[in-house]
Symmetry: C2
Subunit: 236 residues, 2 copies
Amino acid sequence: MQKYLTIYHELVRQIQSNQWPESTKLPSENELTEIYATSRETIRKALNQLAQDGYIQKIRGKGSVVIDTNKFDFPVSGIVSFKELATSLQLPANTIVNELAIIEADQELQSKLNINLRDSVWKVVRAREISGEKVILDKDYFNKDFVPELTREICEDSIYDYLENQLELKISFARKEIVVEEPSEEDRSLLDLEGYSNVVVIKSMVYLEDTSLFQYTESRHRPDKFRFVDFARRVK
Amino acid sequence: MQKYLTIYHELVRQIQSNQWPESTKLPSENELTEIYATSRETIRKALNQLAQDGYIQKIRGKGSVVIDTNKFDFPVSGIVSFKELATSLQLPANTIVNELAIIEADQELQSKLNINLRDSVWKVVRAREISGEKVILDKDYFNKDFVPELTREICEDSIYDYLENQLELKISFARKEIVVEEPSEEDRSLLDLEGYSNVVVIKSMVYLEDTSLFQYTESRHRPDKFRFVDFARRVK
DNA sequence: AAAGTTAACTTGTATATACATGTTTATAAG
DNA sequence: CTTATAAACATGTATATACAAGTTAACTTT
């Protein structure tokens, strides 16, 4: 593994375990250079990643200050599977597979997945139950060229785990859009909507390392259980 | 100005003006090194920033592929003032200042701004009108230690412009949270809610370069006019 | 005691080099 | 013509050096 990523993960672990508490400073770049027996540029790569991800603020002349990472605030930005999220938050979560089928792309899917009309597409509809309430409906569509096979077992566990570790797809980046919509008939029948008159919808187009678009997803949330947390930097 | 940022901005401009269309490749790092008469590391800094911001995908052995940047999709992630957003989207926008006052912090503000009870805080309430409809209510609170003075004129134009260019505050990063709430009485009276029974609320804590917290903001949106667009990378 | 100056230390930028690793193209062998 | 090999080229990582610029603390001067 790469040195700078190893150091990055080590420092993340240390910050999360409160070894460097909030508003204290990390060792200086020169000190870290000695601690990890490496060059300053390698340390700087790790520190810049920490700053990018909201763990530290680098201040010229002073050092790297640890900033408050609310450990229970889970960043829903980024690309994170439901299983990863549930595991990391220790949620009592459960997945119900409502539908698993190969369909032909209609005009809408055609544009969302950038394929031809009537191309084959995997459609997966899953309800996510948290503390016994069905509050999220995930509708996934996969270009069958990249995902030839899918089973109910995979969908009940983790599709991303299968894609990355079995199929060895390199999932790289996504464009996301969050909007509020009226619940569809499907939402009403598959979710415990409790009378809420809106759903929050996260629409994602997910790309592989070679920039090919392989997945379109709509994640439909009951509004009272929806929470999106983000870290942002002012652009220079 | 720094070379790598100059090159970054130049390449952003070129991509946005379609000089390098989507799914074509930028010149190689070595070619860019010659074009800009600089070192490869400097070029790589600029390219890594482009990748981070979703303009290109770097592929080892191949090159830097331009990825589709929907120019009309404005990223609401990041820290962007309403005026900057309206200008860049060429929106017919207008700001109405409903309230401008110095108040004493109550318990809630105390925790949101990390100050003492009864410390002085600027409170600004502004409705944002787009195409003649009041669809966003921005409630800003500023720690008076950092913002001693505010006028109605500043609030009608751009507070951020004033903070950065007049007061020379270095706005650096923010933690954001998006939730859906029931409209308050204030929302109902100051917005054109048109019967919508929810508002989307973006709560932000904004920090300066030296990690001091100086602003808390609630941006309250009518759900049909709310749209959040984001670019995300899968973490390694 | 207060103010100014310097020295040491911090992060930021730019450059250069070497090698690793993945991709493509041209060439040679069968 | 097909396959295998090698060369050229692409990005990725690690290291080293030099200097710029902001911060802090010690020291000197007044």
